[in-house]
C-alpha cells in the first residue's frame, strides 16, 4: 500500500531503501542468527551509517533528522524480513534513546544521544523487575541519596540490549513505595559484553564513556522468538550513580516512562504488522506454486479465503498503525490509538503467522521456510511493552473516561 494520505515522497524513499537493505543484508542472515541466537552485530555496523539507529533524532544530536513516520516505516519494513532486526532498532531508538532526548537535560542529551543516534553504542531501558512487570508501581530497585550521588540496588529482567548495550535508563525508588510516587529514572552505563567483537567492528563500544561502577549484565535469556535480539538481566549492585545522571525530576520517573511506553506501543505495532505481512507474503507465494490435486492450492477456497482474510486484516492493521503514528507525529493525543494499534497488530501477527504455517503444511513446520520463525517471533508481540491485557485496560479506561466526561 502506498498510503498517500500518510506518506510523502521522502517516506517512500525511506521505505525503498529499507526494503533493499532488508532484502540484501537481513534476509540472507536471519535464519542462522535465529538458530544460533547470535546478536546481529554485523548489521548493527551497517545500520548505523545508513541512519537506521537514530531515525527520528535531530541531526545536531547525530540523528538522521527524519520524522516519526519514517521511523515506524523502518521498523515495519525490517520486521517483514526479520523481527529481531526491527526489535533491535525499536528497543535502541525508543526505549534506549528517547527517554534521554525527551526528558534529559541539554548536557545529558549532548553527552549520550550522539553516541546512540549514530549507532556507535546501543541503548536500553530498565523498567521490568521480577516483581514489577505490568505493574510498574511494584518497582523494588532502590536508589539511596548519598549527597553527591545515589547508590542503586536491584535487578531488572528481560532487558533488551542488557548485554550488548552501554547506555541505559533505569528506574529505582528514591522514596518508599508501594505505588507510583517516588520512582526516579537514572542514566547508567556499562561496557558491552562483546568487547572483542565491538572493537573489531568499530561499533558497540565507547571507550571514552565513563561506566557506572556496580552495573552489569546477567545471563542471556534463551527465547522462543526474537532470538537474535539480546535479552538479559541487568543487575545493579551498590551501583554508584552521580546526581547529574538523574533523568528528569526526582520522584517523577513513572510519569515519564509511561510516555516512553505509549510511543513504544506504536513501534511494537509496526514490528507486529511487519511480521504479519512477511508471513502473508510467504504464504501467498507458496500457495500459488504449491500443487496438490493437479493445481495450485491457492485455487482452493479453503486456502484463498484464508489469504483474503489475512490481506484484509493486514490492511486494517496498517491503517490503525499509521493513524496512531500520524497522531503522534502531529502532536495530538495518541495513547488510546497506540494501544489499539499494538493490541490489534500483535494479535494479528499471531493469527496470520499461524495461518501461514498452516498454508505451508508440513513444510511450514520446518526451519526450511521462514514462517515457523515468524510464528515464534509473533508471540512476544502480545507480551512485550505491555501485554494485550494491559492494552485492553488502557483502551477501556479511555473509552469509559470519555463516557464520564
Amino acid at each position: 500500500m502506498d498510503l498517500p494520505f500518510y506518506f510523502g515522497e521522502e517516506h517512500l524513499q525511506v521505505r525503498e531503501m529499507v526494503r533493499e537493505f532488508a532484502r540484501t543484508e537481513v534476509a540472507p542472515v536471519a535464519k542462522d542468527l535465529d538458530r544460533t541466537s547470535e546478536f546481529l552485530w554485523d548489521n548493527v555496523a551497517k545500520m548505523g551509517p545508513l541512519g537506521l539507529l537514530g531515525v527520528p533524532w535531530p541531526e545536531e544530536l547525530g540523528g538522521a533528522g527524519m520524522d516519526q513516520l519514517s521511523y515506524y516505516i523502518v521498523l515495519h519494513e525490517l520486521a517483514k524480513v526479520d523481527a529481531s532486526h526491527a526489535l533491535t532498532v525499536s528497543a535502541h531508538t525508543n526505549l534506549g534513546t528517547s527517554p534521554i532526548v525527551d526528558f534529559g537535560t541539554q548536557a545529558q542529551r549532548e553527552r549520550y544521544v550522539p553516541l546512540l543516534a549514530s549507532g556507535k553504542v546501543l541503548g536500553g531501558f530498565g523498567l521490568t523487575e521480577p516483581g514489577a512487570g505490568s505493574d510498574a508501581g511494584g518497582t523494588a530497585t532502590t536508589a539511596v541519596d548519598k549527597g553527591d550521588h545515589y547508590v542503586l540496588n536491584g535487578s531488572k529482567v528481560f532487558i533488551t540490549h542488557a548485554g550488548v548495550g552501554e547506555i541505559f535508563s533505569v528506574t529505582a525508588r528514591t522514596s518508599p513505595g508501594p505505588g507510583h510516587r517516588g520512582i526516579t529514572s537514572f542514566i547508567v552505563t556499562k561496557d558491552s559484553v562483546d568487547l572483542d567483537r565491538c572493537r573489531t567492528l568499530g561499533v558497540g563500544h565507547a571507550e571514552e564513556l565513563p561506566k557506572t561502577k556496580g552495573l552489569r549484565a546477567g545471563k542471556k535469556e534463551d527465547k522462543m522468538g526474537w532470538r537474535s535480539s539480546d535479552t538479559r538481566e541487568l543487575i545493579l549492585e551498590d551501583a554508584i550513580v552521580p546526581k547529574e545522571n538523574v533523568l528528569g525530576t526526582v520522584g517523577e520517573g513513572f510519569v515519564n516512562f509511561l510516555k516512553t511506553l505509549d510511543a513504544g506501543r506504536i513501534g511494537i505495532a509496526a514490528v507486529s504488522l511487519g511480521i504479519a505481512e512477511g508471513a502473508y507474503g510467504e504464504a501467498l507465494r507458496y500457495a500459488s506454486v504449491r500443487k496438490q490435486f493437479g493445481q495450485a492450492i491457492a485455487n482452493f477456497q479453503g486456502i484463498s479465503f484464508q489469504l483474503a482474510d489475512m490481506a484484509t486484516e493486514i490492511q486494517a492493521g496498517t491503517h490503525l498503525l499509521y493513524h496512531a503514528a500520524w497522531l503522534k507525529q502531529n502532536g495530538k493525543p495518541f495513547k488510546q490509538e497506540a494501544a489499539m494499534a499494538k493490541l490489534y497488530c500483535s494479535e494479528l501477527a499471531m493469527r496470520v503467522t499461524t495461518k501461514a504455517v498452516q498454508v505451508f503444511g508440513g513444510y511450514g513446520y520446518t526451519t526450511d521456510y521462514p514462517v515457523e520463525r515468524m510464528m515464534r517471533d509473533a508471540k512476544v508481540c502480545e507480551i512485550g511493552e505491555g501485554t494485550s491485557e494491559i492494552q485492553r485496560i488502557v483502551i477501556a479506561r479511555n473509552i469509559l473516561a470519555s463516557l464520564e466526561a
Binding site: 515522497e9 524513499q13 525511506v14 531503501m17 533493499e20 545508513l50 531515525v55 538522521a64 533528522g65 527524519m66
Partner: protein, 250 residues
Amino acid sequence: MKIAVCIKRVPDMDLRFAIGAGGKALDPVGLKFDIADFDGYAVEAGLRLVESHGSGEVVVVSIGPTAVQETLRKALGMGAHRAIHLDAAEVPFDGMSIATALAAELKEGGYDLVLFGRMATDSANQTVGPMAAHLMGLPCVTAISKLDIANGRGTAERQLEGATETMEFPMPAVVTIDEGLGRPRLPSLKGIMAAKKKPLEVKPAQLGAANLTVDVIAFPPDRPPGRIIGEGADAVPELIRLLQTEAKVL
C-alpha cells in the same frame, strides 16, 4: 574531477510484467521502476572516484518524463551532487536519438569523465554510451570492471572470456561500467534528507531523429511439459539416447 553519470529509469524486470495493448511496449500498470542495475554501478563508480580524489562533482543525468526525477533523487541520495533532468514525454528506443540529446547537454559541460552503465536492464541495447562518445568526439571504453585515474589518464580493466584486458585512455573520456567496481551503496537517511536540497535542473531533451521503432514484443512460447521416462538405473540408457537424439546435447 567533474563526472557525469547518465542513468536510466527502468522497470524491475524480476517482477511479473505484461505486454501492453499495442504489443509494442510493456504494460506500465503494476510495474515498479528503479535506476537500471549497471547505471547504479556507474553512480557508485563516480562517487568513489570523487571520494578518492578528495574533490570534484558527480552530476547525474537522465532523459524521460517527470517520473525520472524520482530516479535522479535516488542518485542524489546516494551522494551525487546535482542532477539534470532532460525532459521528454517518452524515451525513444533508438539509442542515437538519446545519445544526441546527451551529447548536446554534456559536450560543453567540462566533464573529465562521462559514465554509463554498460547497458540498460530493460532494452539491453548497449548503444547510447558509445554513440554519445562518438558524437562528442571522445574515446570510449566499454564494460569495464576496474577504473583508475592518474595524471589526466585513465586505466581500465575489462573482463574477457578467460582473460583480463587492461587499457589506457586520455581524458576526457566516456566509460561504460560493468558490475565489478563495487555494489551501489544504499542512500542513507541523511542522504535522502540532503537530496531534497540538492539542485535538480530541468531542460527540454534535444532528442535526435529516431530511426528505429519497436515492431512487436512477444513472450517466448511456453515450454513443453517435462516427461518422465523411467526410474533408477534402468532409465539411464533411454535417457542417454534421448539426450543424444532428441535434445542433441550430448
